[in-house]
């Protein structure tokens, strides 16, 4: 089914905790995008990881990609209240495709 049809998953943690969000994709892709969407705004890219990279870091963010299991993860270390947002992964519909398919997303709430 189209990922976007599924409901958002909800995750609630305390400030200072680490959190990992997972993404499984159905078709071969050479790149996985991770986007963050704040309430009332459009999504914004936070990490892009390619098939030749197993891990990528950006500040407190860490993305992994396992092409053999067709899965990716996004971890946030020492989460802060301002990390509260919806997080989406997105992959190409097929290798080299222009079409980017988004996962159903995770609503992360970080409580003080």
């Amino acid at each position: 089914s189209q990922w976007g049809e599924e409901n958002l998953q909800a995750l609630s943690i305390q400030e200072g905790e680490d959190v990992t969000m997972n993404c499984s994709y159905k078709t071969y892709t050479t790149v996985v995008h991770w986007y963050r969407q704040d309430s009332g705004r459009g999504p914004a890219l936070i990490i892009l990881i390619r098939s030749n990279e197993r891990e990528k870091r950006s500040g407190r963010l860490r993305a992994t990609l396992d092409t053999s299991s067709q899965s990716s993860s996004l971890s946030i270390t020492a989460a802060q209240c301002e990390d509260t947002a919806v997080y989406f992964c997105a992959t190409e519909a097929s290798s080299g495709s222009w079409q980017l398919i988004f996962g159903s997303g995770t609503q992360l709430t970080v409580m003080p």
């Binding site: 189209q2 990922w3 976007g4 049809e5 599924e6 409901n7 958002l8 050479t30 790149v31 995008h33 986007y35 009332g40 705004r41 459009g42 999504p43 914004a44 890219l45 892009l48 390619r50 989406f88 997105a90 190409e92 080299g96 495709s97 222009w98 079409q99 980017l100 398919i101 988004f102 996962g103 159903s104 997303g105």
Partner: protein, 115 residues
Amino acid sequence: GGIITQTPKFLIGQEGQKLTLKCQQNFNHDTMYWYRQDSGKGLRLIYYSITENDLQKGDLSEGYDASREKKSSFSLTVTSAQKNEMAVFLCASSIRDRSNTGQLYFGEGSKLTVL
């Protein structure tokens, strides 16, 4: 830096009405997209355009038309609004990055309500 501008920000229509959403980008990107986001759900692709005058259907294209007459603009038309329909329509643009789809830059969204 550039910006994606979507108009209108809010659109209220009647059942059966044809409604048009507009999107402008000044990134000079080749590729533009229209996604639909329903409350509590993810993004579903309606149409995309690789270059000026190109149109490609996404998985949710039925009930929509699109137009890309200029590189900087991409319009989406709801051909017949459905009663009680409510969704946010997101426009995005990107540049091809090596052989992959590059980063998508999104607008703020257009919220549609059908009475």
